[in-house]
Amino acid sequence: MKKFKRLVCAVLAAGLAVGATGCVGTKVGQNDGRDADGNLHISIGGSPTERTKGNEKSYDMFMENKAKFEAENPGVIVDADGWSFDLENYMTKAEGGDLPTMYHTSPTEINNIVNNGYAADITDLVKKYGYDEMLNNEKYGKLYMRDGKYYGIVKDGSLYDMGIAYNVDLFKQAGLIDENGLPKFPQTWEELAETAKTIKDKTGKTGFAIASKSGQGGWHFMNIMWAYGADFMEQDENGKWKAIFASDEGVAALQYVKDLKWKYDVLQDELLADIQVGGRLLATNDCAMIITQRSMLDTYIEKYGLKASNVAMSRIPAGPAGRFSQVGANIWMFSGTDEQNELCLKWLDMIGEGPTVSEASKERMATNNEIKQEKGQIVGVRSANLWLNDERVNAEEEAMAPYRTVDSKFFDDYTNGEGVEYKFEPERCVQQLYAALDNAIQQVLLDENADCAAVLKQVQDDFQANFLDKEV
């Protein structure tokens, strides 16, 4: 008995220490969104919840839209929800039925969100509101559609592809400016390494900053691997997925990354870095080039004081197989009942993020650009074209013109994207793949004697065994 008591005590003590979680909870549309007075609530993720210094205009605009929408739709209340997608608390919010009715996330997460039953199928609503005819589904449908069904809509203006961002000052210091005053953009990855070396030799600053952790290293490295001709996975005749990135082409791409450190010595000191490190170094004039998408520059402006006038962007450099750039976007996802989700689409339409153009939507676009201008962010560079209707595209162009903060010539090479082939993330276990590629990058950056072929083979075998083979 005494032994039993001790065992119970031990189990209790260890149990208190672990505290694992597990509960069965709600899915999409579990809450009907009605309050005690019968009002129907919809909540919009990533909205300003209070008026603070610096966001006065965004807050006021949201409140104006809210008042207008509620007046047009009696019995409906729009709630601002400050939450933006965050992996750390997504699952708990989703299970607790605490997700905003509409929130945005990256395409990387969509498979998991859909597979776990947290995403509403909005196909009927999309068709009802005419999005299906105006969205460029042929080109971008992979971002928000699964098995022919719509699970999301691209957040207006968030569509991006990868390119190289340049610190113009450092290029000037290194004498790498052409007759038009533009940095001499490297056309190939090899040229990029040479350019980075010149920068380092002439200025002593980091030529090129690369990410290597938090999955972001793999995310960026993917673009280099495509350029060298590598692919990531394929499906066999039985429908089973096989990892194939440890090919000669993949090894050549990894060797290139290794050379950046051990042959050219152009990388940052903080080799275990996420993308924020590169952004910070670029902003503080400590680094000349990073891989990034245009929208991230606004983040670096806000967080690290990057000057919009000191940045240029070019399309992604070419490798032996061509120029390849990953396409991504912020995707609006929906978690409410059909009724709530429909109201969200109406909301998007009213605030000018829908496919149709109205005076109100033109005004909203202009105000958004005015806010960005005040924050010193980049206005005047178009993102990739999501919409098929010219009226919508022209309205966006017109709304940008009065608030331009950058000379578009510094971004023309990037926006024109001549010769760039756009790619989407692989279909399976994307986060795990990014983490695996992070690991390969870390190994070759930290060990001069690392054998790229052996490293990549090991990483591929682990990825296959631990993830693809165990897919249900």
Partner: protein
């Protein structure tokens, strides 16, 4: 017949005895009830659900299909499992090497201090009130491999070669453990100190009269007196460090080359990055069983000490 009556009487007496115990202890059980209820609801409910979930395939947090030991098979056959397990034990071992002595030494030092004792206590306790995330970021910056990094700058002052710090696979775990020790030593120190202060000064005075020096007083009086607290702290440390995940998450994300990846961090990534709750629960249960072993060991050791 007589013997059968005796047996019946004995049984009745036993039952009566038990009823008396229940009656006498009923108030105690009544008082315990809210606590027991709270423990079951807040602590055991998630643990039991976690173990339960580990035998199912999940969709989000919901169980959809019983899969037996399949999740355990997946977790234990993961090519990174062994490395992660070794890493986790490595954290524990380094924490015992690095983490045991500082709080003990500081507790003894404060106990021996005559002046400004309270001031020292407050000063030494300050790291414990710093937010864990902030501490990790501060140490991450101190360990910066750049030549301008804080520790590298100090090395350069003395013309010593700079270090890669957290980028060094062999150093990464002890370096993270140092940051954890800095954050956690103060609470342990106070517990040692309270134990020391319950020790009668007469014993020290008698030892001094007998000619015992400082070292002898520590080894013959202090350590034996605080041994139960010391053991409890060691076991607590093992349990706490075994679950480490936030420091490597912030400082290295498990790198370089998975050298600082732990069971806790892997479990976290499975659940929150890869949304594989079932496997995460299975891995959590494996950790739980290992910790259960450590806790049983603690009770065994405590029994020995009590004897």
């Amino acid at each position: 017949m007589k013997s059968s009556n005796n047996i019946n009487n004995l049984r009745i007496k036993r039952v009566k005895g038990k009823l008396t115990i229940v009656k006498n202890e009923s108030m105690m059980w009544l008082l315990l009830l809210p606590t027991v209820f709270a423990i079951i609801l807040c602590q055991w409910n998630p643990v039991v659900r976690g173990v339960f979930t580990s035998f199912f395939r999940t969709k989000g947090f919901s169980t959809v299909e019983f899969v037996g030991l399949s999740n355990y098979k997946n977790v234990l056959h993961d090519t990174m499992f062994l490395k992660t397990l070794i890493n986790t034990f490595s954290y524990v071992i380094w924490s015992l090497i690095i983490g045991i002595l500082p709080p003990l030494a500081l507790a003894i030092a404060i106990n021996e201090t005559v002046h400004f004792k309270e001031g020292f206590k407050i000063l030494l306790y300050l790291p414990a009130v710093a937010p864990g995330l902030a501490v990790s970021i501060i140490w991450m910056n101190m360990y910066s491999p750049a030549s301008g990094g804080m520790l590298n700058s100090i090395l350069q002052i003395f013309n010593l070669p700079t270090s890669q710090w957290l980028l060094n696979e062999k150093l990464v775990i002890p370096l993270i453990v140092i940051s954890m020790t800095w954050k956690g030593y103060a609470t342990t120190m106070l517990l040692y100190l309270s134990s020391l202060q319950s020790l009668s000064q007469d014993l020290y005075e008698a030892a001094i009269i007998d000619g015992a020096g400082l070292w002898k007083r520590i080894t013959k009086i202090t350590i034996p007196h605080i041994a139960p607290t010391l053991l409890l702290m060691i076991v607590n440390q093992i349990i706490g460090v075994f679950q480490v995940f936030d420091q490597p998450l912030v400082m290295t994300d498990g790198g370089p080359n998975n050298a600082s990846l732990t069971l806790g961090l892997t479990s976290y990534k499975m659940a929150f990055s890869y949304m594989q709750v079932d496997r995460s629960m299975a891995l959590g249960t494996v950790s739980f069983l290992i910790l259960l072993g450590a806790t049983l060991f603690y009770f065994k050791m405590q029994k020995k000490l009590e004897a």
